[in-house]
């Protein structure tokens, strides 16, 4: 217990006053003659004892009243939290700021960050002298106590939001770590937050609690600068039909647009898509109008054709004013190139073997109009040995007969350079020894051993998950693909799979059917049953059309395999802020050591030493927008690009409840979020120097005085 005016406790000595009065100035009772006194004498003694007791009670009440008055005036406080020592003892305070983009939410001509800054600057002035202050924000990085309050003030004034903000649980964890370095007894963490759920992920709560547990005692104060009922229109991350596409394809860009608002009215918003042209100017390529109800999200779709070759970048915007502009723009990048060429090699008659695959990858209707994403060349596999493979992006061996070891070697070299080969084994394998040569085993997942037969038609593809890029296209419709309608009657089994082989897909009885094996910079996919059986032969499977005459799964699978083998599926050009962007260089580009990064706002910076092999890594992706990486000129020029968007959780404005916060903090108590300076003062004062008992004591004092009044009145009631 502490006292604001401890000296006033001496006033309790005044308790002697009523005792003295009681002893020497006892108030005289009223006098009456009463002849019948003799009747009362016998009962008088009992009455006197009661009287003395009441006198003592009165005396005790008066003494208590004086003591309570002195006690109340000395303003005692009781500590319920982690307060140590007196109110003016210095503290080690870490001011933690949420600087996620949602802190830019503007209301009352002030962003949440500005409100937090204002509150923090006031709070700095309230800290006791000689306090240690550190300022941490969501940017992360090592924190340190500032040399003085003025430095901390400057740091607060310079705070800005960061698109790649860390969670507050992580920042509080850093604050706890920092406080361990302080030797001051009193440690406090002030968290300036908008109380949004995204800032307090429960997954990271355990680590924060463990770090807080290292501290003996720490006061945690939450300062809520958030908005209870925000109004905001937001865009989700753009989703593209492909990040790398051919000139013949169309780009489909999807995004979600949503509205949160306390009002119930439907709002109409226009969403526009802009593309950057050669001069770097934005050109509107599409506009959609959506009706939005609060709490609802709608999907908007833009279809863009005839994109020129090269890196194409754009932006999607939702029009209209709202509190948070950070989530009103989304950026995207797509790589457009010439159609990929695929060599389909098969035994004679090759056209028949390749019939289904070629029509899946390059249907005649599209091919004749020059709109096919892929250009397929069908080749008799006997000519494979002397065929130049360098012009192909991928080679597919459809039901291959035994190949010359040199051909296998050529294919292995082809793969090692970074391309892809698909092998689809079938009836033409013949003797398995023909596929067990050293050169063949470099590509195959293992030595073929047996033909497995499932003549009843009850064996089919049964993907366990759809994580592999080849199967990713089926992910949204997982569970609805009728794989049992596409039975497999025969397939090859392998013995002793190569160590780096992975099984992509299995049959419904668990037998492996589809394998992947990396080789050098490229990869080999092997399907244990032919993909494109001869139409006139007894089929090993019914994959192309199934028993229901539906070619859609087959076409989707072929396109996914083709994308994967030509490397289109690998292209990742759209990131969230803070992620390291990895860009693939074409195999023909000479490795070099320096590139130029053009960041949003035309900020140019060199990228040196960050490329390795045929990839460039860019870690400076904090700003949302479209980035370009360029180097050289002429034929050897490099012109790559990618986009970075603010992750959606960084702009989610859902508020966290107090119960959820309690779960995040677990066993550690924190002060209820304060929203005003008065509330901060109260909770800080309550924890630091305890809760003042002034009011409570005054209530007790009033009770004692009332009891004294009643008792005294009963004793000395004046005569009417």
């Amino acid at each position: 217990m502490t006292f604001v005016n401890a000296t006033l406790l001496a006033g309790a000595a005044m308790v002697a006053l009523p005792i003295i009065l009681h002893l020497i100035m006892r108030r005289k009772p009223r006098y009456f003659e009463f002849p019948a006194l003799r009747l009362v004498q016998q009962r008088h003694e009992t009455n006197q004892r009661r009287l003395r007791l009441r006198h003592l009670l009165l005396l005790a009440l008066r003494a208590a009243a004086i003591c309570l008055l002195a006690f109340a005036l000395s303003r005692p406080s009781v500590q319920f939290g982690s307060g140590v020592g007196s109110r003016e003892a210095p503290v080690a305070a870490v001011l933690v700021f949420d600087t996620a983009p949602r802190m830019q939410y503007r209301q009352g001509n002030q962003t949440r960050l500005e409100a937090a800054r204002e509150m923090a600057l006031w709070l700095l002035g309230q800290l006791p002298a000689d306090s240690q202050v550190a300022v941490l924000d969501s940017r992360g990085g090592p924190g340190a106590f500032h040399a003085d309050i003025a430095t901390a003030r400057q740091r607060i004034e310079r705070l800005e939001t960061t698109p790649a903000a860390r969670s507050l649980t992580e920042t509080v964890e850093d604050a706890a770590q920092l406080l361990r370095q302080s030797e001051l007894d009193r440690k406090e963490i002030y968290v300036f937050t908008d109380q949004c759920r995204a800032a307090w992920p429960s997954a990271a709560a355990a680590r924060m609690q463990a770090r807080l547990a290292d501290l003996r005692d720490v006061g945690i104060y939450l300062i809520d600068v958030g908005i209870e009922q925000p109004t905001n229109t937001f865009l989700g991350l753009p989703r593209l039909s492909a990040q790398a596409m051919s000139t013949n394809g169309s780009l489909v860009a999807y995004t979600e647009v949503g509205l949160i608002s306390p009002a119930a009215a439907t709002e109409t918003r226009a969403v526009e898509l802009y593309l950057l042209d050669d001069q770097g100017q934005l050109r509107r390529a599409g506009v959609e109008t959506v009706e939005l109800k609060p709490g609802e999200t709608r999907q908007v779709e833009f279809r863009i054709g005839s994109l020129p070759i090269g890196v194409q970048q754009g932006v999607i915007r939702v029009l209209g004013q709202d509190g948070l502009p950070a989530d009103d723009e989304r950026y995207f990048t797509v790589s457009v190139q010439k159609p990929w060429t695929i060599l389909l090699a098969a035994p004679a008659p090759a056209d028949e073997y390749a019939y289904f695959v070629r029509n899946a990858l390059a249907p005649d209707t599209a091919r004749l109009r020059g709109q096919s994403r892929f250009v397929c060349t069908v080749l008799d596999q006997r000519r494979l040995l002397d065929h130049n493979l360098q012009s192909y992006s991928s080679v597919w061996l459809l039901d291959p007969a035994p190949l010359d070891p040199v051909a296998w070697k050529n294919l292995a070299d082809f793969v090692a350079e970074g391309r892809g080969v698909g092998i689809f084994l079938g009836r033409n394998v013949g003797r398995v020894d023909a596929f067990a040569g050293t050169a063949a085993l470099e590509l195959l997942p293992g030595r073929p051993s047996l033909q497995a037969r499932r003549p009843n038609g009850d064996f089919y593809f049964a993907p366990r998950d759809y994580e592999h890029p080849v199967l990713a296209v089926f992910r949204p419709v997982a569970g609805t693909v009728p794989w049992q309608a596409f039975p497999v009657f025969r397939f090859w089994q392998f013995e002793e799979l190569a160590p780096n082989t992975t099984v992509i897909l299995e049959g419904n009885d668990g037998s492996p059917l589809f394998y992947e094996r990396p080789l050098g910079a490229g990869r080999v996919l092997t399907l244990a049953t032919p993909l494109s059986d001869r139409p006139d032969a007894k089929a090993w499977n019914l994959l192309p059309v199934g028993v229901i005459d539906n070619a859609a799964p087959f076409v989707m699978l072929c396109h996914q395999m083709a994308d994967y083998l030509v490397g289109a599926a690998d292209e990742m050009l759209n990131y969230t802020c803070g992620q390291t962007a990895v860009l693939n260089l074409a195999p023909s580009v000479q490795p070099r050591r320096s590139f130029l990064l053009i960041a949003p706002g035309d900020l140019r910076m060199p990228l040196s030493g960050e490329s390795s092999g045929n990839r460039i890594a860019v870690s400076a992706t904090e700003q949302p927008g479209n980035y370009r990486v360029v180097a050289g000129g002429g034929d050897d020029a490099v012109d790559l690009g990618f986009s970075a968007n603010i992750a959606p959780e960084q702009t989610e404005l859902d508020r966290i409840s107090l119960d959820e916060l309690k779960e995040v903090f677990g066993p550690f108590s924190f002060q209820p979020p304060a929203r005003s300076q008065e509330q901060i003062e109260r909770v800080v004062s309550g924890t630091r120097v305890g809760r003042e008992l002034f009011g409570l004591i005054l209530v007790i004092l009033a009770g004692v005085l009332a009891a004294e009044y009643l008792t005294a009145n009963r004793f000395y009631r004046d005569a009417e």
Partner: protein, 298 residues
């Protein structure tokens, strides 16, 4: 209440200074209320002869009857058929007490005694007065003459209560004085040792006297109206007690009730009429008691 009956209120009587008027008003008020009572119209003219018995005054022998019958008969005087009343007034200091500073216990007793005297004289009952403290201080022999009223009232008006009292001793003295069976009407607050007082009353009763005890206490003594801390002093013994009146009231009322109850019980056993009164009560209660007693006697 009629204008006459209101004189039965002590507060009204207190406003009348002359004692004879007080007595007159009280009795008239009382009789006014007795129109339908069984006591109305009883005779005061009755007389008879009886045989002479040794001890009778020879001068009372009716020689005319002796001449006719050769037997001694004494003429029974009218007074003998009536009640000889003695108004025994307590002169103790405590009788001068009044809480309201209006009618003291003694004043109340005097009014009552005067009224009774008035009534008795009008019924030709002889009435006398004795006033006592530790012993009989003043006395007036009973007579039924009209002039007796003035003498009695004069005496009652002249006496003042003061000092200690010894009721038992005084009653014993009175008992020794009375030659004929009489009606002794004691006006006292009985604030003395009850045992001695009761013994003295028994002795009176044993002497063939009828006794009516008018136990007159003050209104404050009956109700204990004090509150808060009070210091009480006995005016006779000068003994003081400080007490919390509120807390003590229940105890006191219990004590005074048991005090009265004892007298009521003991008197009933000795066929003594005990009339508890306080100074706020109407006078007719006492007058009614007298008339009842006289009715029994006659």
């Amino acid at each position: 209440m009629s204008s006459v009956e209101r004189y039965l209120q002590p507060s009204v009587i207190n406003q009348i200074k002359r004692l004879d008027l007080r007595a007159q008003f009280i009795v008239k008020g009382f009789l006014h209320g007795l129109h339908a009572s069984p006591f109305h119209g009883f005779s005061v003219e009755f007389s008879e002869h009886r045989k002479y018995t040794p001890g009778d005054d020879p001068k009372d022998i009716d020689w005319l009857i002796y001449a006719k019958t050769d037997k001694y008969y004494v003429k029974k005087f009218e007074a003998e058929t009536n009640i000889t009343g003695y108004l025994a007034m307590d002169l103790s200091r405590s009788m001068a007490y009044t809480y309201r500073q209006e009618l003291t216990k003694f004043d109340y007793a005097v009014c009552l005694a005067a009224a009774l005297c008035y009534l008795m004289i009008h019924q030709q009952d002889p009435v006398g007065v004795v006033a006592f403290d530790t012993r009989i201080r003043r006395s007036l022999a009973p007579k039924a003459r009209r002039s007796q009223l003035a003498q009695v009232l004069s005496l009652l008006a002249s006496i003042r209560p003061a000092g200690q009292t010894d009721i038992a001793q005084s009653l014993n003295q009175l008992a020794a004085m009375l030659r004929h069976a009489s009606l002794v009407m004691l006006f006292s607050d009985l604030l003395a040792d009850p045992e001695g007082v009761l013994q003295a009353l028994y002795r009176l009763r044993h002497g063939g006297h009828d006794v009516i005890v008018f136990h007159v206490i003050d209104e404050a003594e009956a109700r204990f109206p004090f509150d808060g801390m009070v210091e009480l002093e006995d005016p006779e013994s000068r003994q003081r007690l400080t007490l919390d009146a509120d807390a003590f009231r229940a105890d006191y009322l219990s004590a005074i009730e048991s005090f009265r109850q004892r007298y009521r019980r003991e008197c009933a056993q000795a066929r003594i009429d005990y009339v508890p009164l306080d100074t706020s009560m109407r006078f007719d209660r006492a007058l009614m008691e007298y008339l009842q007693r006289r009715s029994v006697r006659s």
